[in-house]
């Protein structure tokens, strides 16, 4: 409240008047010890103060008032507005000019400072507005991208669900037609035992495919929701690899498998089941994307900083450098979405799940070119684990 009162222009005049009279009074009391120069400098300081606080017009008022007081109280003859000595006229004039000039200059400086401050505030405001606008735009863009991604994911999911369903539906309706005999006046369907068996095999295989896909979806959803609960305990890398290999046996029958595990490799504190799943996925991919009869190499060795590095390498066509990050995206399939070919395709979730498991172990997974100049090498690194935890 007081501050706002002082901000008024009239407050400047009041303070100017009071301060000049107060200073004159003080100077008069200690009068014998001060000369005219001290008085004029003191009064000038007051002009500067008023100018910086209230601007040019109150400063001009202060200058004239100070000049009158200086003349009346300090320049002989005292108590009159007349001046005896010529040099005192000069002193008075010099005082007035100095007071007015200094007052105007400092008032202008104050104004400039205020303008600069206003400008700065305006720039800050504009900057904030711009930043908000930019944030809104990037948020909208992110939303649009996310919608696009969602729709792409939905397409991928529906394709992967519908494809096996189509085979199942077509098989089962063929078998049904055969079982029902003549339908709608059509001749009975003749399915030999072999064809019937084939239809049933297809239904069996495609149901498994659907089931695998759904399990993958659930696992991926758990990883994404951060609900992957690792059951860590000390285990041997050899055991993890051999578990994965025995599970992968049906798919690796027609491949040469080479396992190279460094001697005296330390045990690792991991969720063995989950890590074995990672190795299995990598072996499965290696088999899918390389020719039968080629070698799939599984290696494990100690790496820097208390880590174990494991890798699965194939002799297939390899993955272009540009796709090496993308293959870890869910539903991405190098064969279908990138370099198209006629190779069989998986669920597009294996590597995404593998990455989720490795990262849940604070590890890292990436893709390199095969060490023998061809093929793909998928490498992952896991911390050996902390003895004290859990």
């Amino acid at each position: 409240m007081q501050r706002s009162m002082l901000d008024h222009k009239w407050a400047g005049y009041v303070v100017a008047g009071l301060s000049v009279f107060a200073l004159t009074l003080v100077l008069k009391i200690v009068g014998t010890h001060v000369n005219a120069a001290t008085v004029s400098l003191t009064l000038l300081l007051n002009v500067l103060f008023i100018a910086t606080r209230w601007g040019s017009v109150p400063a001009l008022f202060t200058s004239i008032l100070a000049m009158l007081c200086f003349n009346f109280f300090f320049l002989p003859p005292l108590g009159t507005f007349t001046i005896a000595a010529t040099d005192n006229w000069v002193a008075l004039l010099a005082f007035l000019v100095t007071a007015v000039t200094a007052g105007q200059l400092s008032a202008r400086a104050k104004k400039r400072a205020e303008e600069a401050e206003t400008g700065k505030l305006e720039i800050e405001r504009l900057y904030a507005e711009l930043r908000d606008a930019f944030e809104r735009a990037s948020h909208a863009e992110a939303l649009r991208q996310s919608e696009k991604l969602k729709s792409a994911l939905l397409d991928a999911v529906t394709h992967d669900l519908r494809t096996p369903l189509t085979s199942i539906k077509a098989s089962i309706t063929t078998l049904l037609d055969e079982a029902r005999g003549r339908v709608n006046g059509e001749p009975p369907v003749s399915l030999d035992a072999e064809s019937k068996l084939e239809m049933m095999e297809i239904i069996d295989e495609e149901s498994d495919r659907l089931s695998r896909f759904i399990s993958g979806l659930i696992e991926l959803a758990r990883i994404e929701a951060g609900e992957l609960h690792l059951r860590r305990r000390w285990g041997a890398v050899e055991e993890i690899i051999s578990t994965a290999l025995s599970r992968a046996e049906p798919i690796t029958k027609q491949y040469r498998i080479a396992v190279e595990v460094e001697r005296e490799l330390p045990g690792v504190r991991v969720d063995e089941h989950a890590v074995s799943e990672v190795v299995y996925t990598l072996i499965d991919n290696a088999a899918k994307y390389s020719d039968k009869g080629s070698t799939i190499r599984i290696t494990a060795q100690r790496a820097d900083g208390e880590q174990v590095q494991m890798a699965v390498e194939d002799e297939g066509r390899g993955i272009p450098v540009t796709l090496r990050e993308q293959v870890f995206d869910k539903f991405f399939r190098a064969t279908r979405d990138g370099d198209v070919s006629q190779q069989p395709t998986g669920t597009g979730m294996g590597l995404a799940i593998a990455k989720g498991i490795v990262e849940a172990h604070e590890g890292r997974i990436w893709i390199e070119s095969g060490t023998r100049g061809k093929g793909t090498r998928v490498v992952f690194m896991l911390p050996i684990g902390d003895e004290d935890v859990g």
């Binding site: 085979s167 539906k169 369907v189 239809m199 297809i202 295989e205």
Partner: protein, 244 residues
């Protein structure tokens, strides 16, 4: 019964199945063979086109999404060299591609997942159309199809024996439908055929004329039996009795 479509020959009809899903081609091969068709399969458009050139099938069933040469490209390549009936296998959500395939010249489509009977019905209808004497070439002055009798010279049409009065455009549209009975006709195809190439986007013309035609020919225009709507795609004409 399907052998009737090939009545001029003793050989079973030859069907080429093109799909990149090996399981589905296995099923279709067995399912179609069990009905007496001769079947070959190809894994993509390129292999499909090669098989077509070597084997000259009577009908092609193709998936749309395939590696290398996809279903659309295959339709285009096939139409450049042949009028073989093409049935497209498509998924819900692929409407745009499906319409494109039909515009290019595919005859029909089946939406995945489908029962084998649905596919077989489409196969029979397509083969029958392909083997029917061409109405255009016979250059006769009358058309007889199911419940419809058309005198092209006097521009008179009877439905179930009853004469109906049509505007010139309605007449053209109905004659086009009759000549392509059983085939899925996209909005674009119909607009181009009856109104001309500049009107292919004017779906509302078609809606109005189909609505009017239905009022004049259908027993109950609210539940049409002759001009059937294929949602988002176009229409399919069923002339009644003789085909179905």
């Amino acid at each position: 019964m399907h052998r009737e479509e090939k009545s001029d020959m003793n050989d079973p009809a030859k069907i080429l199945v093109v799909d990149d899903e090996p399981q589905l081609t296995r099923v279709l091969r067995t399912g179609l063979k069990s009905r007496g068709y001769d079947v070959r399969a190809a894994a993509d458009g390129l292999a499909g086109f090669e098989a077509f050139s070597d084997w000259h099938p009577d009908l092609v069933i193709t998936d749309l999404a395939m590696p290398n040469v996809d279903g659309l490209e295959l339709c285009r390549k096939l139409r450049a060299v042949s009028q073989v009936p093409i049935i497209v296998l498509s998924a819900k959500g692929e409407e745009k591609t499906k319409v494109e395939a039909l515009d290019i010249g595919a005859d029909d489509f089946v939406t995945k997942p489908f029962g084998i009977d649905e596919l077989l019905a489409r196969v029979r209808a397509s083969l029958r159309r392909a083997n029917a004497p061409s109405m255009n070439e016979t250059a006769q002055t009358t058309l007889d199809s199911g419940d419809f009798h058309v005198d092209l010279e006097s521009r008179e049409i009877t439905v179930r024996g009853n004469p109906i009065h049509l505007t010139p455009k309605e007449f053209e549209l109905l004659v086009y439908f009759i000549k392509h009975a059983g085939k899925v006709l996209t909005h674009r195809t119909l607009l181009a055929a009856v109104w001309g190439g500049n009107y292919v986007e004017q779906n509302e013309y078609l809606r109005v004329f189909v609505g009017n035609l239905r009022k004049k020919i259908e027993v109950d225009p609210a539940t049409p039996h002759y001009i059937l709507t294929e949602p988002w795609i176009g229409y399919r004409f069923d002339p009644g009795e003789t085909i179905s």
